[in-house]
Every structure is written in structure tokens, then in C-alpha cells.
Symmetry: C2
Subunit: 416 residues, 2 copies
């Protein structure tokens, strides 16, 4: 039987030209985050199905690749549902595994624990252009740091990394779940329906303030609340100092430490940043995951109209594993998005040029072959990339094919 | 409900101290193989179940983690067997995915195609000490090179890599499936039972020549054949020039090109190698996988009594996908074994020392905080690793914990 050449539905093979960019980006990311004191960790691709379906993952829990039980535990004839057949699944993000990891190993880890995790995650999404069922995530997290020094370090580390990858003029937008809630409360929305309000607010950049207003009304919210809420955003749009405006407006509704918390992050990062970006407070940032408890943020590349990562503070998730809350804050770079942008921009990996191919005619005597290989070894010890290959019959085609793989110099060796 | 802290059965979390060694080894491996002209590639962790169960994987096919079908395709009530429920599985090696990859993309790849693939594989083995169900493999393969230049390049690249990782005095043992067959044929074993003979021969290093003889007899082989076969190995053990001895002895049984093929590899590698190792011809090397067609080899670390990788030529596997054979040869480094050895030897990653922790007292005014962070940024730009953290109440414990993570210098910043 002939075998199947294509990757499984929705997943993809990565060709060498893209891999070169990926390997380069990974090395820049690992090096930069290491300078910031982040420690590399790895968790298994497979997690127990109970952890994956514990409501930490939101909609991603609908997209799990389930792994079948094995041996005696697999009882097909008695099975009623998926739950009877699967004991584990592929992770859909790196946050649930990180928190499990921290819970299991905290005694062996420094405090605060600054973690870097790069690895694939899997989601059984409907296949579509540019979206794949296996993709790499790149997360940094600080666990055990209750103050906003966590946010400051995450912002500096991530923007420094993006800067070193050549990104300029981007925005880092921040907000706070406590701010979101205070604005909703101020407007008079019922507390138990806040999440519905935020899901609609999240569409602001697509449908505008009028669109948000009409969707809120359509969802049955009180018209006075909707008017108050959208009025607040309109006034904010005109305010010179959005935080100062909110400080007065929300007095008594928002906890007094929230606005100084945001302001300190913004001032410190502005005074310290090395990359070319703007940190902006944006009260329309929502971030979907329900586990966020404080600061939330995302990277926007205005020229490209896309987001390239984000994250937030989740002070209550460790407690789900250990029974005791530990403060935590994480930033996930949109690794695949970054690779796509760099690839489309024709990014050239620094130092990747200057590859030499040695083409050796067939039938080369052993002694001469050893000499040629010795020459190649010497060039390699000097750091140059040397391909040694037999000369094909169609040498012209071979050289063209190698040129496309970045070989710029050819040395040909003939028997006579 | 409290979540589960432990990784799933048989898999493990990797702590920062080991990850530092892994990241270092990965960078040395990628850099060295790139110098030899190998191109990084990546294939999905998930492969179609048909490819995984196509008899290329030997016993590994019994150890597949199967992934359940999803949505309408999953019909639990009608399912009779695993095959009805699973459409894919986690790869158990990198060879099947590589050959599928090559078959799908050969038009876009240079000829010969020299591939480097590092990635996790999964096998549902019975959990035991030191053996895990998820582990990293590191394979280099050359596809499209019919001559022994493939073997020579694989040997030089892999031994150079091991040398750069600090390994010395190891052996690279080689044999050839054609030699194995010729010796069995010469001795008079029936051709259809050769594989049984080789499985017993493979135990030579554990049970010795007498053990092999008695197992062969016990398996019902003709005593004259067993005597001839073991006599051959005894004579070989005493021969000064094993290949010269076999050349005479097997004349007319072995194809005339086989021994010169082996000799040319040995002579060329000996004349060119830069690492400290011995390349030896060892007629007892078997390698389990049935897909090997020519040269086979493995790395032995005699002091440690372990094998650290191996591989061989498999000229018939691409044809299973495309209908047309393409020569191929691959070498897999025993990545996990290497990490284990380095970890046990207390390996220190070069340049990993010299980390500084900034400990900042709580309540530091924003302006002073920005100054301190600015100082950290400058040190980072210079390549130094700087952790910035709030000073804990128990500063002594915090510093001890950070010392264990490699922080050798502490700078303390107080509010007054």
C-alpha cells in the first residue's frame, strides 16, 4: 500500500527556508529572555484530560485532541462517550501546563520564578488559511511576584526581544480587569453579566462605539447603562489624560490602588525601554480568558493591523492546583504571527549568507577524497557552512537547486 | 475540584538546570550540523494512523498513542476496535515523518537533501526508571546520495558534534546488512530465517559467542550452520585485518563492491576526522529496524557501557511513499542519553556563570525604580544575565534559592 504524503489535516511541514528564520528567532528569544533572568522549562505535550477540561482554557477546551486509553483501560464496547475512551490530550496552551509545573515543583524553583516556555500546542480548529492545528507558543511568566515589577519586567523583556528581531513603531496596549469592572459597574450593568458586556466591548476596534452601543442594546441591556457606558468611552477619547479623567470619574467605584498601579508601570517602562514602541493605556482591551485578575495587555502592530501577542495577570490559577493562591503574570509572544511577518518581509537571517558547496565528481580516489574532505573540515572549523556532495550528471540543475538553498560559492573537484 | 499536579504517567517536566544543558546541546548540534550543510526541518507531532502502522516502525508500532477522531467522524456506538476510533497518532520516530516530508516536497528541496530534524517522539512504553514516554530525537539524514559519501559526511558531522560536546575516546562501530546476510548465507542458514539469526547475533555483547551458539541451536537451526557461523566469528576475532579475512572467506558469496565500500568509508573518515574516536568495523552490529539495506552503525561509549546513537542506510523506504526508490542514509544521536551523561557528570554550560540578581526593597519610588531598571538594561545589553526581583521578607532564603539557580552576584537596593 502506498503511504500518505500529506501531513494530517490542518497541520503542516516546515520547509528549510522558514526553519532558518524560526531557528534564528528562537535563539534571539532564548538569549534575550535569559538576560532578563527567565529560566527555560519544558512540559510534556500531553496533559491529563482532567486538567485540560477544568474550565481554565475557555473555548480552547472544545478543540482538544484526545488521546485514547491503552491496554486494559480501553473498553470500547462499554464506552458511552469520549470521556470513557480518553485519559489525556494534547495541550492547547502553555499556561495550564506551566501552572501545573509550578505547583508540582515550587520547592525546587527560585522565588520569584521567571519561566520561559517555548513549545507546540494543538487545537482542532476548522482548517483555514494561515491557521494551523499545531503551532508554537512562546510564553514568559513570573510566578510569585505580587507587585507590578512583574508587569514591568515582562514588558521590558518582550519589547527588547521584539526590538532585536527588527520590529519598530509598535504599540503595547494595557488595561486592567479591575478597570474594566469598575467602568461596567459605574455604568450600572449587573455584575453577573459583566463578561457579556466585555465580549461586546472587545469588538470596539471592528465595529466602533456605535456598533458596541447597538449590540449592547440588542443583548437586552438597560439603555441608560448603555448610554452611560458609551458616554464614558466617548469622553475618554477626548481626554488629554485618560487615567486622570478616570481617577476622578470612578472615585469610590474603583479600588484606589488600581490607577497608581497602571501609572507606575507606564512611567517606569517609558523611562527604561530600549525598543522603539509606545506603551498606551487602552480601556477597550478585554483579553478573552476568564482567569485574568488584574493587568491585561497586548502588542499591536498598527501598520500590519494585527496583534502579535498579549497576556495578563492571573493571581488565582495556582490556587486551583495547590489550594493556595500565588500571584502570577504572563506574556505570550505571537510566535507564528512574527514568523509570518518576517517571512513575508523577506527577512534574511544575519550571518546566514556565505555557504559553499563542494561538488565532487564520481570515482574520486580515496586519498584525494580525504584531502578534499579535510579542506572542508578546516573551513567548517572556521565556522563556514560547507555542503559536500557528489556532482550530479545534471550539474547545472544541481547548482541552481543549491543556489536556491543559499549556496553562493561552488568548488568543483574532478577526478582528472 | 483540585487539579492534578503530576505530569501524565511516564512523561516528565524538565527543570531549569537540565533545560540549560539541553538548550546548550541543541545550539551546538544545530550550529555544527549547519556547518556540514544540513538544513533544519520540522514535521508535525501527529501523523496519519495509516503511515504509523505501515510496518516501517517495527515494535514501535505497538506503542502508538492514538488520537481520537472528532465531530461527526467519531461514532462510539458503532466502533468495534481502536481502528474505528482513531484517525491519527503521535509519531514514534522521526524517520517515517522525514520520508513522508521528502516525498511531499522533493521538488522544492536541493539534491542531495541533507536534513536535520530535532523533535519529540512518543512511545507508550511500560514506565521504568530513565525511560520516558516523551523524549527528544535528533536525526540527520541524507536523501538522494547513492554513494558512501553520505555515510562519510554523517560520520564526520556526528563525531564532530559529539567532540564539541566534550565526548572523547568513544567508538563508532559499523557493519553492513549485506555483510550480515553474506555471513549467514556462507554458514548455510536458510534465507527466510536470517532475521531470526540476526536477533540472536545482536545479543553477542551480552551473552558472548557461546551464548549465541546455544541460542541458535535452541531455536532449531542446523548444528553444522551454527558451528560454521560461530567459527567465522572466532576466526574474525583473531584476524589482524578483519575485512581482508572476510574478503577472501566470503568470495563469491558477498557482492564484490561491499568490502571496498566499507574500507573507503573507514579510510576516508580516519584521514579526515577531527574528534577523538575510533571507527571500527564490527560484524556483530545488527540494528533492529528491518528497513535498513546497507551500512549500519552505532556509537559506543565504552567507559559508560552504553550506546549513544546509531543509524544506517535505507534505500527502499522513499519508494513506499512515491513508488520510486531514492537512496537514503540517516544517523540518530541518542539525545536523551547524552543529556543524562552530561547531567550526571555535572556538566557546566560554558558562559552560563556570572548571573546577577537585583533585589529591590518594596516601596521603591517610581523614579528611583526606573533608574535601577535602566542600570539593569545596560548590563543586559552587554550580554549579562540580570534578574530583577522584589526583595522578599526572608532575604537570606531568597538569596540561597537564587544561588542554587546560578546567581553569583547580588545587588540590593533599599528605599532609604
Amino acid at each position: 500500500m502506498a503511504l500518505i504524503k500529506k501531513p494530517v489535516t490542518g497541520m503542516r511541514d516546515i520547509l528549510p527556508s522558514e526553519m532558518e528564520i524560526r531557528d534564528y528567532c528562537i535563539s534571539v528569544i532564548k538569549k534575550t529572555y535569559a538576560e532578563f533572568g527567565f529560566l527555560s522549562i519544558e512540559t510534556p505535550a500531553v496533559e491529563s484530560i482532567d486538567n485540560l477540561t477544568s474550565k481554565q482554557g475557555g473555548d480552547n477546551e472544545k478543540l482538544i485532541f484526545r488521546i485514547m486509553k491503552r491496554g486494559e483501560k480501553l473498553r470500547i464496547s462499554e464506552a458511552q462517550s469520549e470521556a470513557d475512551l480518553a485519559d489525556s490530550g494534547l495541550r492547547y496552551d502553555l499556561t495550564v501546563p506551566l501552572v501545573r509545573y509550578y505547583s508540582a515543583h515550587s520547592a525546587e524553583l527560585p522565588a520569584p520564578f521567571k519561566a520561559l516556555q517555548m513549545g507546540n500546542v494543538w487545537r482542532a480548529e476548522r482548517p483555514q488559511r494561515g491557521r494551523f492545528r499545531q503551532f508554537m507558543q512562546c510564553d514568559i511568566d513570573i510566578i510569585g511576584e505580587p507587585t507590578n515589577l512583574a508587569e514591568i519586567e515582562l514588558f521590558l523583556a518582550t519589547t527588547t526581544t521584539l526590538g532585536r528581531l527588527g520590529f519598530k513603531g509598535f504599540q503595547l496596549k494595557m488595561n486592567d480587569r479591575r478597570m474594566l469592572k469598575a467602568m461596567a459597574e459605574f455604568s450600572g450593568f449587573p455584575r453577573e453579566r459583566f463578561d457579556e458586556v466585555f465580549i461586546i466591548l472587545d469588538k470596539m476596534d471592528k465595529i466602533g462605539i456605535d456598533g458596541v452601543a447597538s449590540e449592547l442594546t440588542g443583548a437586552g441591556f438597560d439603555e441608560a447603562a448603555v448610554a452611560e457606558y458609551t458616554g464614558l468611552f466617548r469622553e475618554l477619547g477626548e481626554a488629554d489624560d485618560a487615567l486622570g479623567f478616570l481617577e476622578k470619574k470612578l472615585e469610590g467605584v474603583i479600588a484606589p490602588e488600581v490607577i497608581p498601579w497602571i501609572r507606575e508601570i507606564m512611567d517606569t517602562v517609558d523611562a527604561t525601554k530600549t525598543a522603539d514602541f509606545r506603551l498606551v493605556f487602552d480601556p477597550t482591551i478585554v483579553r478573552g480568558m476568564s482567569y485574568y485578575t488584574g493587568t491585561i495587555f497586548e502588542i499591536a502592530m498598527p501598520e500590519l493591523g494585527v496583534s502579535c501577542g498579549g497576556g495578563g495577570r492571573y493571581d488565582k490559577m495556582v490556587g486551583r492546583f495547590t489550594g493556595q493562591d500565588v500571584p502570577a503574570c504572563g506574556f505570550s509572544i505571537g510566535f507564528e504571527r512574527i514568523i509570518l511577518i518576517l517571512t513575508e518581509q523577506g527577512f534574511k537571517v544575519p550571518g546566514a549568507s556565505g555557504k559553499t558547496a563542494y561538488l565532487i565528481e564520481k570515482g574520486m580516489p580515496a586519498e584525494r577524497l580525504a584531502e578534499i574532505l579535510g579542506e572542508a573540515q578546516k573551513e567548517r572549523e572556521g565556522g563556514r557552512r560547507i555542503l559536500v556532495a557528489r556532482m550530479n550528471k545534471n550539474k547545472k540543475f544541481q547548482k541552481e537547486s543549491l543556489s536556491q538553498s543559499g549556496y553562493t560559492e561552488f568548488k568543483e573537484f574532478y577526478v582528472n
